[in-house]
Point group: C2
Chain length 234, copies 2
DNA sequence: AAGTGGTCTAGACCACACT
DNA sequence: GTGTGGTCTAGACCACTTG
């Protein structure tokens, strides 16, 4: 692990544990460089991570300050539903409605930046969180990129298979949040009493090898949906 | 403007203009350093911005590659509604329903990290976009931080007043997206035909001096709401 | 004037992917 | 082995804030 990452984690630990309190000044770059036996630039690189996370503010001529205590798990948006549930202590049950391999339609091929007609997994799942059917996930992934996916993985966590057994890392995701009217099928799957609106999270995701490996469309119950994030000017 | 920012903008321009095409390799760090007459570290800093924006992928041992052409305006989430409309060529009309100064309630004070009872602006506005009442915005800001705000500013753009006339910069924002049921009042203001769900964007925003200057709650029509963003592992 | 962060350099060494 | 990006250093200079 790079040194700047260790410094980042240690300073972050001190912030969340209250050693560095909100609105208080952090030690100067030179002090931290001395403590961690590194150059000031390495310290700056570590603190920049905290700035981007929304925890720290650096003011030229003044010093570095703790902005606030809590922070959204800043990379939680690159996790799958199963990991997010585990992380927040929620129970998850998955109902697989569809798990097949089909030639990519023109629409799906365009989303996945791949040739039309190549095989993709088509997966539809209902996610039951804390006993409530909360999310319907439609997922498409090129078979060529994710070999040997089976029903067991789909029932549990596809992300866990990809990051664990295949050894990949999810590098990035592009997402789009909007509102949609629930279809008849979705009303049934979510056991809704009638027509309603769902919150749709449309997403394409990339592996660290640069391949676009997933297009997914997740439709959430509006009253359990929550999406938290930070934006920091760079 | 720092050199790495110029390099960032120039390389970005070349990507969006197609000079560097998707999936193609960018010139190596050493080549770019030579072209821009700077050190490789400065080039790396520039390319890191593009990586974080989701436009570029750097692979150790291989090179840097263009990931995709288009990108969400990556900092558009730090703009106000008026700027976003202007940027995307939409017309905006604003109906100010409330513009007063009141002592901060316990709830608002907690959101704004300020003492209860200090004066805050309380502003309710309906935003009519392309002729459709689309957003209801409830905004609270400490008077002490944003002096001399008047009805003209509120009718146009508060952000424009803050960044233009006051000379501040919006440094960061923390936001939370969820679904809510529209109130009677909101049904009337948005001219809805009946009860429906709205998409709520809850936000606290910071100035570059580190002050929390705004808590706002924007409720959007679900069928016009759209929120686009990228997440990149750091 | 003194202290702080921001930028930049030149060079070193390492990790990784290809040949 | 060669070439690529990733990390790190020591030091320089600048911009900004406060005294």
């Amino acid at each position: 692990m790079p040194k700047y990452m260790e410094i980042y984690q240690e300073v972050r630990r001190r912030i969340v544990s209250g050693i560095y309190a909100p609105d208080k000044k952090l030690p100067e770059g030179s002090k931290l460089a001395l403590e961690f036996a590194c150059s000031e630039l390495t310290v700056a690189k570590a603190l920049d991570l905290l700035v981007r996370e929304g925890l720290v503010l650096r003011k030229r001529g003044l010093g570095s300050f703790v902005k606030r205590l809590a922070s959204a798990a800043s990379n939680s948006h690159l996790l799958g539903t199963a990991e997010r549930c585990a992380w927040s202590g929620k129970t998850l049950e998955t109902r697989v409605q569809c798990f097949t391999a089909v030639p990519a339609s023109e629409d799906i091929a365009r989303k996945l930046l791949m040739p039309t007609g190549e095989l993709v997994y088509e997966i539809n799942r209902v996610r039951v969180i804390d006993g409530i059917p909360s999310i319907i996930e439609y997922t498409w992934m090129p078979i060529a990129l994710i070999p040997q996916l089976n029903l067991g993985h789909v029932r549990q966590s596809i992300y866990r298979y990809i990051t664990g057994e295949l050894g990949f890392t999810v590098h990035s995701a592009h997402m789009n949040i909007s509102g949609v009217q629930a279809s008849e099928q979705e009303i049934e799957w979510l056991a809704l009493s009638g027509p309603t609106v769902l919150v749709q999270v449309d997403q394409t995701a990339f592996l660290d090898n640069g391949k676009l490996f997933e297009y997914s469309c997740a439709r959430h119950l509006w009253h359990t949906f929550n999406f938290e994030t930070d934006f920091v000017r760079v």
